[in-house]
């Protein structure tokens, strides 16, 4: 699609534009840093001295995040699969069963046991799905703060004698696991549902079993779809792990930075170090994910559709 009238007018000022953009961006950043540093002082000595401690704290953040993330992935996959099951109206399932049964009994009347069995399986499927839905709704509908404190309270009540650090870690990992499990199930559900049901049909048509169709047709497509959002979820969880600050006994990056700031009064340095470390992890990873999404998208396959010509 050719460029519009206005784009070309714009292209003439491109070079001025780029230079000005760099100037403005750097200028604003420098100004903000300068104002903060002027007000609060910037002790490079402090930064040089204590950045290893910050890295250690960041390591704890990553540690907690990683454990929760992978346990949560198991939960998320199971929940996601359970929630991706489409339920047909009961009447239709029963009617299909009846047809099969009639065909099998060769004209005779089918037994009631068969229908009860169908009803049971249908009911269990339905309630498993609804329970999973409820779990995700609760996780998504309440603040992670409340979830952490809830679990923490439970740990305090049931295991009052444990070391505070262990209590905090236990509560933190459980809460983060439960939380990311809910969010990851959304990703897996979308991934599995996005693979068109016609694909399963086609797989079954060439003689694959239900699991075979899942294994060879749905999963290979779904995995490709879920990797970028799953990576983003890891980043999100890392940021969420900062909420463990409310527990106070787990020295992860935010907790550590906060206590350093108020004990040493190197407030601006602490802020800069904490923010710097988070940004160093999150921004490159999400940029790489964005790039991969653009670069390796299979045409016509994506949770977000490929964009053609856009405004």
């Amino acid at each position: 699609m050719p460029a519009t009238f206005d784009e070309q007018r714009r292209s003439r000022v491109r070079i001025v534009d780029i230079l000005l953009a760099i100037l403005v961006t750097v200028g604003i950043l420098a100004y903000i840093l300068d104002v903060l540093a002027l007000r609060w002082g910037l002790s490079t000595a402090y930064i040089g001295r204590s950045y290893p401690n910050y890295l250690k704290a960041a390591w704890i953040s990553l540690y907690v995040t990683t454990i929760a993330y992978f346990i949560g992935m198991g939960i998320g996959f199971v929940l996601g699969w359970a929630r991706s099951v489409r339920t047909l109206p009961l009447a239709r399932v029963m009617a299909a069963r009846r047809r099969e049964a009639v065909a099998a009994a060769d004209g005779g009347s089918p037994g009631a046991g068969l229908f009860l069995g169908t009803l049971l399986v249908y009911g269990i499927k339905y309630y498993v799905r609804r329970t999973a839905d409820a779990y995700v709704a609760i996780i998504r509908g309440t603040p992670l703060f409340v979830q952490i404190v809830f679990v923490w309270s439970a740990v305090l009540v049931f295991y009052p004698r444990l070391d505070p650090l262990v209590q905090g870690l236990l509560a933190g990992v459980i809460a983060l696991t439960a939380n990311t499990g809910g969010y990851q199930s959304e990703i897996f559900r979308a991934g599995i549902q996005t693979v068109h049901s016609g694909q399963v049909e086609a797989g079954r048509a060439i003689g694959l079993s239900r699991w075979g169709a899942m294994r060879y047709i749905v999963l290979p497509q779904a995995v490709r779809l879920v990797i970028p959002p799953l990576t983003n979820e890891y980043i999100g969880l890392l940021k969420a792990s900062s909420l463990l600050a409310v527990v106070g006994s787990v020295p992860e990056l935010t907790t550590f930075g906060r206590s350093e700031a108020f004990q040493t009064f190197h407030i601006f340095e602490a802020f800069a170090l904490v923010v710097g470390i988070y940004l160093l992890i999150t921004v490159p990873v999400s940029k790489v994910v964005e790039w991969i999404e653009r670069r390796y998208r299979i045409p016509g396959l994506g949770i977000q559709a490929p964009r053609t010509a856009r405004v």
């Binding site: 784009e7 900062s242 407030i267 396959l301």
Partner: protein, 282 residues
């Protein structure tokens, strides 16, 4: 298999929608009660414990009111910020879009709690002395929460703008519309409609994020309950299981708030839904 598609008339469609929302609401209520009953049995507490509520009710209600007040500041402001930045970032002028993309990357890359903690401390120092007061730190923290959500919303609005096909703009121009008019009458209405469903999610996040203000002394629902919990934990003679009551109640309020906001936006989405105008998903 043959499927029949009933084409609903305007009024019957409306009735179906209303009853759908009602059913969803009822379902949610039943589900919530079930979950609470199960929690009560497993953790052995009673949500309607009178002795507790006599002590807790004032801070509970104050907390809710304060939460709503913070929301009243943060939510509108974040939409304004998000929309403005989202719009500015589709501009081809890098002078406009580059600094803003740094802003967005910053707020998307840093956990909001850190921005809140440090904004409450660093922020007031940048203001003249006569503005200094106890609460100014919390207000600045609330403003940074609005910026944080604004950064996320800007991505939503930007995606909305970008998913309006370029042909729409061209067609509007071919009718003799100026860029401004084409934007206002053709691109904007479509972009906004496409932005509503993801906005519903983001609003729920904003509601939950107000709880972060507790950490700098903004005692909204979460904060006031946290203080109350500390009192229970450390005063003798009180039942420890009360803290479960407190957190279940708090979770319930947040759940209802997020549910209400998402349902409201979904209702708006359905009201203004146009067939064939969807964010394209495969």
């Amino acid at each position: 298999m043959a499927t029949t598609v009933a084409v609903p008339t305007r009024s019957s469609a409306l009735r179906v929608r209303v009853s759908k929302t009602a059913i969803r609401g009822a379902e949610m209520a039943v589900g919530t009660i079930l979950v609470i009953l199960i929690l009560q049995t497993v953790l052995r507490f009673n949500l309607l414990d009178e002795d507790l509520w006599k002590l807790y009710l004032p801070s509970f209600l104050d907390g809710i009111v304060l939460s709503l007040r913070y929301l009243g500041i943060i939510l509108p402001l974040s939409v304004v910020i998000g929309f403005t930045i989202g719009w500015a970032r589709i501009s081809r002028f890098r002078t406009l879009s580059w600094p803003l993309s740094v802003f967005v990357d910053f707020f998307r890359g840093v956990p909001p709690i850190i921005v809140v903690i440090f904004a409450a401390v660093l922020g007031p120092s940048l203001l003249p002395a006569r503005f200094q007061s106890q609460d100014i730190g919390i207000i600045i923290a609330a403003l940074t929460l609005a910026m944080h959500s604004g950064a996320y919303q800007s991505e939503i609005f930007r995606a909305g703008f970008m998913s309006v096909p370029r042909g729409q703009l061209e067609a509007a121009q071919s009718l003799g519309m100026t860029n401004g008019a084409a934007m206002r009458f053709v691109v904007l209405p479509q972009a906004l409609r496409l932005s509503i469903p993801p906005l519903a999610n983001e609003f729920a996040v904003v509601i939950k994020d107000t709880s972060l203000l507790a950490i700098v002394g903004g005692f909204e629902l979460f904060g006031s309950s946290f203080i109350f919990e500390q009192q229970i934990l450390f005063s003798p003679g009180n039942q420890l299981s009360w803290i479960f009551v407190v957190w279940t109640a708090v979770a319930l309020v947040y759940f209802v708030m997020t549910f209400a906001v998402t349902e409201l936006l979904n209702a708006i989405d359905r009201r203004y839904h146009v067939k064939g105008l969807e964010a394209v998903t495969v």
